[in-house]
């Protein structure tokens, strides 16, 4: 008999609210190890809250969440140092880089995670320098993070998590506020992890990057998953994208004729088919 491989995350019927305002309602999902998943949804659809629950920063009011077969509860994290094991395996890049950057210099910021996870000093120095170079921010290493531009802050926030080389990466709007070139670098990074053991869960509402960063897409609306499929299936489903507020009616004029149609985001398959 073959054993069913343990999922990275298993979420069963969770609910969560902020002071009585529901953010997640009866959500269930299963994310396999090595999978690249995009959480697609408009603002307020529950993407960020779901990522926080997956990172065990908050816990559902009802329902269960497990990581690699272990239940994620406040008690389980305290038991036998599981918190340290979990933090070594799962890392989250926050949507707002400001909350993630709290050290005196960029170097200290990137070294913060490895220090907390009790890496050796030599490993920390080596990995921090490698990551600074990988993200093209070596020139910023002595600068205080709060004096950086928005795009630079985002890159430092990404570097501060990438340095940990976790098995599971949770990315909350990783390309927001980045210029086109930096966006492309982040997308390239996520693409590099395709086929590796790394599980990457990205929350985004940018349709144009979905095909590059995910093998599977979950569409969220009002705290529930309303659809799941491959990027091409989801992107081709215009009524679904309209319902989830991910596309809008595009109104424009040709001479004197004004007309509107759904805002299209042609993806690579369409373009290849046209050629």
């Amino acid at each position: 008999m073959t054993e069913t491989p343990t999922a990275a995350f298993e979420v069963n019927g969770i609910t969560f609210d902020y002071d009585g305002i529901p953010a997640i309602r009866g959500l269930s999902l299963r994310i396999e190890r090595g999978e690249r998943v995009a959480l697609l949804g408009a603002n307020g659809s529950g993407k960020s809250t779901l990522l926080r629950i997956l990172d065990a920063l908050c816990f559902p009011t009802t329902g269960t969440v497990s990581f690699a077969g272990n239940a994620l509860t406040p008690d389980s994290l305290q038991r036998n140092g599981y918190s340290l094991t979990f933090r070594r395996q799962v890392a989250l890049v926050f949507q707002n880089p400001d909350v993630q950057l709290f050290n005196p210099t960029v170097f200290d910021e990137i070294a913060y995670g490895p220090l907390q996870l009790r890496w050796s000093k030599d490993d920390i120095l080596r990995r921090v320098n490698e990551t600074l170079s990988l993200m093209g921010i070596s020139h910023l290493k002595e600068r205080p993070p709060y004096r950086l531009s928005g795009g630079e802050k985002k890159r430092v926030a990404l570097a501060s998590v990438l340095v940990l080389d976790p098995e599971v990466l949770l990315l909350d709007e990783p390309t927001a506020t980045l210029d086109p070139r930096s966006q492309s670098q982040v997308v390239d990074l996520i693409q590099q992890w395709k086929g590796t053991a790394k599980t990457v869960i990205t929350a985004t509402h940018q349709l144009d990057i979905v095909e590059d960063i995910a093998d599977r897409v979950l569409v969220l609306e009002a705290g529930s998953v309303i659809a799941s499929g491959t990027p091409s299936e989801i992107l081709a489903n215009q009524p679904l994208l309209l319902r989830a507020n991910l596309v809008h009616a595009h109104r424009h004029s040709h001479g004197n004729i004004v007309h509107s149609h759904p805002h299209q985001h042609p993806h690579s398959h369409d373009e290849h088919e046209q050629q």
């Binding site: 926050f94 707002n96 005196p104 200290d108 995670g113 907390q116 996870l117 709060y146």
Partner: protein
Amino acid sequence: MSQESFIESTLRGFARAFSKALISEQAASQPGLLQSFDPRVRVLGVLALAISVVVCRNLVVIATLMGLTILLAIASRLSVWSLARRVWFVVLGFTGLIALPAVFITPGSRIHLLQGVDLSISAQGLRTAALLVLRVETAATLMTVLVLCTPWIHILKSLRSLRMPAEIVTMLAMTHRYVFLLIETANQMFESRQSRMVGNLTGPEKRRMTARTAGVLLSKSVELSHEVYLAMLSRGFDGEVRVLTDFRLGALDYLGLTGFASAACLAIWMGR
């Protein structure tokens, strides 16, 4: 004051706060007497001197400790003028206000009578007020010298190694970590206000605007502190302070510790 100067001066204040932080970081990394000691010796030594200042009841001894603190600041390459602006004038303003009534209400031998208001200044009152102001000035200067000469994270690690509870150290760490975020938020709020305002603000309007900003900042501070804490937790923070630098005590540190301890004990004995 015009509305522009009111908002602009507030914005300049925020910019000053950032530059002060930068100057502090630079001072902590430059070579100097206090910087040459292990951070634990700096914390312990300055704490011992501060305790002796509080315990001491002799004005001359406290004044001597103040003189020593200034010498320590100079040897640690700190600007005396910067200390005066950061500490002395501010402390004099606040503590002076508290100490002022003591000059008149403390019973003792009269040295001057204020004509018209029927108030007399007593020698004992003057001494009490001077003692209070000098104590606070010296203790505050000592602490400022310590903070300017030691990276904040090293102070936290030293406090933990001196067995201060992790909860208190975490609170200190959090306060320091999101204070800049708050300043930046306040800065953005004032900038956005400035970009939308035409005409002059009256006095009450300025006060209302300041009160509203303070209220919004307070709400945001609660939210931000929680967010920063989650971000720390997400990267493995467990209440312990960890830094890349290894703390090791050398001969110079033992010498320094002996010096600080001797000065503190001598001050307590002479100032009984």
